[in-house]
């Protein structure tokens, strides 16, 4: 296993174990990633892709180990993180426009009561511009295409000035045009020094989308540049063995 070390990593995961009802979903993961990378998380169903993202977002409590973002632990690091939920978990009928959604990214900066400052408005305008949503700003979020919806959430994260983007299966259910659109937006973010961590179920096109990859199987199989990480040998190791679930259950048939 090759784990890249960065002189000044944005994200450091050390010995991370997370369990659901005492059954571990990910075991003793350690890796670190620097800024400016678009990192794909791969592995079979149940490998712990979503679990890893949720625990970095602070939604699940680690059983062992710790997570450092910009040298800080949660909850202090929360403003640096933008977690993009799976599309099914969003209520697309919610009474909010694209602009309103992006403005939510500024709430943390504006606090409870302070009205939006000029800087806040500029951040919102800049985010809408960057993701090609300026003309759609007044639309309700359901009136966007799938790719535009994903970009709207990325724009919110941009307005928040987050450094670490956690995306859970953002390409699921997108057609080809929308996928290409989203991939372009992800590349833009990486080129601006953001770190993106993206769970992804399909291995095809992985090399085009992600410069680094993490291959999981409940445990860390490999982590590093995409072509080496997703080598046939590593993939055999990740997909060829049953996911470790904590139960030593063997079915002798």
């Amino acid at each position: 296993m090759r784990v890249e070390t960065h002189p000044d990593p944005l994200l450091v995961v050390e010995d991370l174990t997370v369990s659901y009802h005492r059954v571990p979903a990910i075991h003793h993961l350690s890796f670190s990633l620097g800024r400016g990378h678009c990192t794909g998380i791969f592995g079979p169903n149940g490998a712990g892709k979503s679990t890893l993202l949720k625990s970095i977002a602070g939604l699940l409590r680690p059983e062992t180990g710790r997570i450092l973002i910009g040298r800080r632990e949660l909850p202090k690091a929360a403003p640096l993180i933008a977690y993009l939920p799976q599309r099914e978990s969003v209520d697309w009928d919610f009474p909010v426009t694209v602009r309103g959604l992006v403005e939510m990214g500024r709430y943390h900066h504006a606090g409870l009561l302070r009205p939006f400052s000029k800087k806040d408005d500029e951040a919102v305008d800049g985010a809408l511009e960057l993701f090609g949503l300026a003309e759609l700003a007044c639309r309700q979020i359901k009136e966007l295409s799938g790719g535009q919806q994903q970009r709207a959430f990325l724009a919110r994260a941009w307005a928040q000035e987050a450094d670490l983007y956690l995306l859970d299966e953002p390409f699921a259910g997108l057609d080809r045009g929308s996928s290409a659109n989203l991939a372009g937006a992800l590349r833009t973010l990486a080129s601006r020094g953001k770190l993106l961590l993206v769970s992804h179920h399909a291995l095809s096109e992985a090399i085009g989308l992600f410069d680094t990859a993490i291959l999981l199987n409940g445990e860390m199989v490999a982590c590093g540049p995409t072509p080496e990480t997703l080598s046939p040998r590593n993939l055999e190791c990740a997909y060829g063995t049953a996911v470790y679930s904590g139960h030593h259950h063997h079915d002798h048939r």
């Binding site: 969003v90 919610f94 009474p95 295409s145 799938g146 997108l174 057609d175």
Partner: protein, 312 residues
């Protein structure tokens, strides 16, 4: 009827002290419930709230047995019973195979049954019908005080915390990831909703109190795509509907609770059909336009963006 007579019949209700109190009470609870209804609708908790309104009954009965019919006692009893059902439902859902809506439904109907039995043993002679359907003309100073308190608390808490509450409503897990204590916000909302339900008991009773919460918010939801417009619009609709319903009930000499709910229902029915953006009739007649738009896409006049809409 002459013009003078018509004017008289409209201004007449305002000349009675009991009617003035009733109108003020209606305006207050209509506003508070309408405001809170937005949160109920957006969290999809209309039926949970119905369960809560029913579970008030045993609390009211216990309070009536222990301290008689004082507004403060009723408030406390109702509040406790509803919170017990809500929290108990969560507890059962977490520890067993039962889902939370099953657990809450089971608990509330059990609580309701206990409430009906307990009311037989209340020291003062309590009319079940009074609790179930309310009696707006019997609003006392204590009831008014509760209405004032509910309105003040609701606005005093939710207006300053509007941003974190909005984030929690829109996406709880994202809000939690950004460091907001969503558990506290959810518990606070629940407590305010129960408070609003208790405040509207005297006016419309256990069974119809849900109408004040749900109907104006549902109406506003069909009218606008802006959260704050929905919030305040629903509050104003609730206030208008409650006052109009009460006046109508006085003029036509019919029961006030159903009258208020039906006026609010009229609002909802109208927007359901005619809302400019989400109305059923309006959407129906817009069909052709959408077809043309779709045709334009296929023939490729919007080539710069290949996204096709409507996949969410």
């Amino acid at each position: 009827m002459t013009v003078h007579g018509l004017l008289n019949s409209i201004t007449e209700p305002f000349s009675y002290a009991f009617m003035q109190r009733a109108l003020l009470s209606c305006a207050l609870i209509g506003f508070t419930n309408g405001f809170l209804g937005t949160f109920v609708i957006l969290r999809r908790q209309a039926l949970l709230t119905d369960a809560l309104s029913h579970s008030l009954l045993p609390g009211l009965a216990v309070a009536a047995i222990l301290v008689g019919l004082s507004p403060a006692g009723l408030l406390l009893g109702g509040l406790l019973a509803a919170l017990l059902v809500a929290l108990g439902g969560q507890l059962i859902a977490r520890n067993s195979r039962l889902k939370d809506e099953t657990a809450v439904a089971a608990l509330y109907i059990i609580a309701f049954a206990i409430g009906i039995l307990l009311l037989r043993y209340a020291r003062v002679k309590v009319d079940l019908v009074h609790f179930l359907f309310g009696n707006i003309l019997g609003v006392g100073d204590g009831d008014l005080l509760i209405s004032y308190g509910a309105a003040a608390l609701t606005l005093g808490i939710l207006v300053p915390f509007q941003r974190p509450v909005l984030l929690t409503l829109f996406d709880t897990s994202v809000a939690r990831a950004s460091g907001i204590r969503t558990g506290w916000i959810e518990a606070g909302l629940l407590a305010l909703i129960v408070l609003a339900l208790v405040a509207s008991l005297q006016a419309v009773g256990v069974l119809l109190s849900l109408g004040l919460l749900i109907l104006p918010a549902a109406t506003a939801y069909l009218m606008t795509d802006s959260f704050s417009r929905m919030l305040w619009g629903s509050a104003v609709l609730g206030m208008t509907g409650a006052v109009a319903g009460l006046l109508l009930s006085f003029l036509a000499n019919i029961p006030s609770g159903p009258c208020i709910v039906l006026v609010l229902a009229l609002f909802l029915g109208t927007t359901y059909l005619f809302s400019p953006r989400h109305g059923v009739l309006v959407r129906f007649f817009r069909g052709r336009h959408l077809h043309e738009e779709s045709l334009r896409r296929w023939t490729g006049h919007e080539g710069h963006d290949h996204d096709l809409p409507g996949k969410s």
